[in-house]
């Protein structure tokens, strides 16, 4: 018998929709009614194959979006066999973003690759805020083919200051090319000293983006980052995600930079 | 004044005939290659008093004390008594030195007394074997090595004994770290693979070297209580047909090994060429004449191998056949031109 209180037991969630972004990245819209925040994650559980931590990329009244990149045994299995109409998962885990922090005043979001998933909810909130003109979003992908959330990108572009860039592109590409960090110095900010920023992406990208923001005049305590670590359990038990005295799965993955700058690894 | 010495007796008494007239070298047996310090001091004393002050370390883990005058043989034999006693070497008459030289010093690598990979106490087994087969004038070479690495190069001997352990696996202690799999591949034969987080051992491929046990961080792998042996037969160096020994048994137990080596002496007594030069014919060359089937019959007499033991009764050897052709005729520039 399954004991209800066992926190390792996943629940069944119906797949409401599947959005295919690229050959390797799909968003699964999962039935879910409960509290959750962008930046939190679920452990998607495929019996006999394992579990994988997946960020929440969208939140609705009765669903969450999980954008899954096909990179391992578990995600592979999800892609091959999701037609079972449901997935097993447990969560949400982690702290997530407090979206309310960012809707007032000037905010910059810098996101790279799959790092867009955990901040998608934040960006959408910025786009729908009262002052979208004060919201600057730099989104970078490896190439035009790797772009995620194309519909959202279009929507955001219409509402706020979106800088969409790719690391590299085939000849003839008309969009912006270059790393996200390239666009930080020229952000048209009124007062960087009181502006807030969110940075999510691969470790080197985050490091250099934060550096750029600090140079631009951002205060450390006004920058939030989301740490990526291996999370086997999501419950502060397995130890893999620990950095110093912090457990990324419990205390993060979102950290204020004034804290995360001392989380050396 | 030249000495009147029976050279054949001299050789049997473990002295070498030197190229320097009137000189000899004393060949000291050191079964298993382990000698105590006291005996080593005595050897040093003999070398200084009767020899030329040097000591030669032989390939078979004995020592030779060169530069001894033929006249001092009796005196040297008396002095050697300490070494013989300390090594518990079987003797016919006290103070008369080593009673035979045909059966060569029994060789052993350091084995489990020292080496982390040794699968049994090679020294003890070598000494036990020495006790069973010496003295004997028949030319036998027996060697022991702790594991399949064969540091003792037992494949060059008539009887090579390699240690084996049968790895015992406790899946409940296995954390799937994969070190056994990796090290088996790097340091051994790659007999392990990871399936579903646990390890599968290919029992056909596994040579029982114990590398998995050595590297296992959890004691999921342990050694079998029993010590097992691979027995290789009739390797040799020499001018006619040098060759590596071939596998005769694996997973044999100590009793089986002991019996087949002892049985081989009876075979030699039966089949040795009565007219052999200096009455010396290597067992391998005798088997070349009689065929392996006959040898097999003799060495397996009264032997019931232990249950796990696998026996190969069809042995074929390769090696160089210099008695047929001393080949190496390279396809070189001379032929092409």
């Amino acid at each position: 018998m399954m004991s209800q209180e066992n926190i390792y037991v996943p629940f069944k969630s119906e797949i409401l929709d599947v959005i295919k972004h690229t050959a390797k990245e799909y968003t699964f819209r999962m039935k879910f009614e409960g509290e959750c925040r962008p930046g939190q994650f679920f452990e998607v559980s495929v019996p006999k194959f394992g579990e994988a931590p997946i960020s929440i990329s969208g939140i609705g009244d009765d669903f969450v979006d999980l954008t899954i990149r096909r990179v391992g045994t578990v995600t592979n299995e999800v892609f091959e066999h999701y037609k079972g109409q449901y997935l097993l998962m447990r969560g949400p885990y982690g702290n997530g973003f407090d979206t309310g922090l960012f809707t007032d005043g000037e905010t910059v979001v810098v996101a790279g690759g799959t790092g867009v998933s955990p901040v998608r909810g934040v960006i959408s909130a910025l786009a729908d805020s009262d002052t979208p003109e004060d919201k600057h979003v730099i989104v970078g992908f490896k190439s035009p083919d790797d772009m995620l959330f194309r519909a959202d990108l279009k929507d955001w572009d219409a509402k706020l200051d979106l800088i969409l860039t790719v690391d590299g592109a085939p000849e003839g590409y008309s969009g912006k090319v270059g790393l996200v960090t390239k666009y930080i110095p020229d952000l048209p900010l009124k007062d960087a000293g009181s502006a807030k920023a969110v940075v999510v992406g691969p470790p080197p990208m985050m490091r250099f983006s934060v550096k750029g923001l600090l140079e631009k005049g951002f205060k450390e305590e006004n920058i939030w980052v989301s740490q990526e670590r291996r999370m086997c359990c999501g419950l502060g038990k397995c130890g893999h995600c620990r950095i110093g005295d912090k457990y990324v799965c419990l205390d993060g993955p979102v950290f204020n930079y004034s804290v995360s700058k001392d989380m050396l690894d | 004044m030249s000495a009147d010495i029976n050279v054949k007796s001299l050789k049997k008494n473990a002295f070498r005939v030197s190229k320097h007239r009137g000189e000899t070298a004393s060949r000291v047996r050191i079964p298993g290659g382990l000698i105590n310090a006291k005996s080593m001091v005595r050897i040093t004393e003999i070398a200084e008093k009767y020899g030329n002050g040097s000591i030669f370390i032989t390939n078979r883990q004995g020592v030779e004390i060169p530069g001894i005058s033929l006249e001092d043989i009796d005196a040297v034999n008396k002095e050697l008594q300490l070494c013989i006693d300390e090594a518990h070497i079987n003797q016919e008459e006290r103070d008369k030195g080593f009673p035979a030289s045909g059966t060569r010093n029994v060789v052993a690598c350091p084995g489990a007394r020292l080496c982390p990979f040794g699968c049994y106490d090679t020294t003890a087994f070598a000494q036990k074997m020495e006790d069973q087969i010496f003295p004997n004038n028949r030319h036998f070479k027996v060697a022991f090595t702790g594991c399949s690495n064969d540091c003792a190069k037992v494949r060059m001997d008539d009887f090579g004994i390699m240690g084996m352990t049968e790895p015992q696996y406790d899946p409940d202690r296995c954390i799937g770290c994969g070190q056994c799999v990796d090290y088996c591949k790097i340091r051994s034969v790659g007999a392990l693979k990871m399936v579903g987080g646990k390890v599968i051992r290919d029992t056909d491929k596994c040579i029982g070297c114990g590398v998995c046990v050595t590297y296992c961080p959890t004691r999921a792998w342990t050694r079998s209580k029993e010590h097992y042996f691979r027995v290789t037969l009739l390797g040799r160096t020499g001018k006619k047909n040098p060759r590596l020994a071939e596998d005769f048994m694996k997973w044999a137990d100590e009793e089986t090994v002991m019996k087949i080596v002892k049985n081989a002496y009876a075979f030699v007594e039966e089949y040795i060429d009565p007219n052999a030069y200096e009455s010396k014919e290597h067992v391998g060359y005798i088997v070349d004449r009689t065929g392996f089937d006959e040898f097999y019959k003799w060495i397996m007499k009264d032997v019931t191998p232990n249950e796990k033991c696998e026996v190969n009764n069809r042995l074929y050897w390769g090696g160089k056949h210099y008695d047929v052709s001393n080949n190496i005729k390279p396809v070189g520039v001379n032929d092409i031109r």
């Binding site: 394992g50 391992g72 990526e228 670590r229 | 489990a112 004691r219």
Partner: protein
């Protein structure tokens, strides 16, 4: 309160306890050591005093009982998930003072780090501890400097065996009743504990972040082979990795388990897509050491390391954890200068 009894009488106590509890204690497993003809001391069931190995430090800690090296959590059949049955018999675990301190760290992670781990809790609720007194320090122990030489109070009785006698301090009515029932001699007993170790460590109160850049870690990048034995034997290491598997070719039946993990073994930080943190063994050493002497304390108020020295006992590369602690201390001191 305490009792002094003969060994025979103590066995009666164990027998009575055994009717209600499983008794776990360090047991000498003959021949199950890493190397040939060596033993390992690890935890197993015992019935009598003589089953326990009380003269040696256990090579592997008691934690295997609370956090099994490999623990099946769920079984999967087609569409069904079943929680694995667990052995949750009431048990008494015999351990030394340092290890009893280590229990705190296990509880920190499994019961107090936000969530309660249901699997751990089930076992933990059924476990009581009995203290093994330490008459003298073992090699590599540094409990005194870690403040773990005197046991915390949460044991039900202690055991100090000397000569034909066993002395027990008893802190539980249930156990006292058993001693009374065999008319044991009452006496004031204080469990033996060491007051001096051969090894000393100094732990700095504050470790600045500059330690990350210190060159003290560099040598371990070449010295440490990343075997993880230190983590496996450590009484306070709790990390695990989830492992899913299926048994059959058709993949319909399988299980989810967790296995002990080591932050020193390659792969510990691997994230999907190929990313890895702390690639060098030096960085991994830093991660481990700082956890034991600083990071855990920041979160839970006490150090993780209990100074049992097992990591030093087991390291094949002779890396001394206690020495690293002192190197950190020196580096911090130099920095402050």
């Amino acid at each position: 309160m305490g009792y002094v009894v003969s060994k025979e009488a103590f066995d009666q106590v164990l027998q009575k306890l055994g009717e209600k509890y499983r008794l776990y204690a360090p047991v000498r497993k003959v021949g199950e050591g890493r190397f040939t003809d060596t033993d390992v001391v690890r935890y197993d069931f015992v019935n009598r005093l003589e089953d326990m190995e009380l003269d040696a430090k256990s090579d592997y800690a008691f934690k295997e009982i609370l956090t099994p090296l490999s623990q099946t959590l769920f079984f999967f059949t087609e569409g069904e998930t079943k929680e694995a049955d667990m052995d949750i018999s009431d048990a008494i675990v015999f351990l030394r003072a340092c290890d009893l301190h280590a229990v705190k760290s296990l509880d920190d992670i499994y019961l107090r780090n936000r969530f309660e781990d249901p699997f751990y809790k089930k076992i933990r609720e059924h476990i009581k501890f009995a203290l093994i007194g330490c008459a003298s320090s073992f090699e590599n122990c540094f409990c005194v400097d870690m403040g773990t030489n005197v046991a915390p109070d949460d044991y039900i009785f202690s055991i100090d065996a000397a000569g034909d006698q066993v002395k027990s301090a008893v802190c539980s009515d249930e156990v006292a009743e058993i001693f009374e029932s065999i008319s044991a001699k009452k006496e004031d007993v204080t469990p033996a504990h060491v007051t001096e170790n051969p090894v000393h460590v100094e732990i700095p109160d504050q470790i600045p972040n500059s330690i990350f850049k210190s060159d003290i870690w560099d040598e371990y990048s070449s010295r440490c082979i990343g075997c993880g034995r230190c983590n496996i034997v450590c009484p306070t290491c709790t990390c695990f990795t989830m492992q899913d598997t299926f048994y059959s070719e058709n993949g319909k039946v399988g299980e989810r388990r967790r296995v002990a993990a080591s932050c020193m073994i390659n792969g510990y930080t691997n994230v999907a897509g190929g990313g890895q943190y702390r690639k060098s063994q030096g960085e991994r050493m830093r991660f481990k050491v700082l956890h034991k002497i600083s990071d855990h304390k920041k979160r839970f108020g006490h150090n993780m390391c209990v100074g049992c020295g097992r990591c030093d006992d087991v390291c094949p590369e002779y890396i001394k954890f206690s020495n690293i602690i002192n190197k950190v201390d020196n580096a911090v001191e130099e920095e402050g200068r």
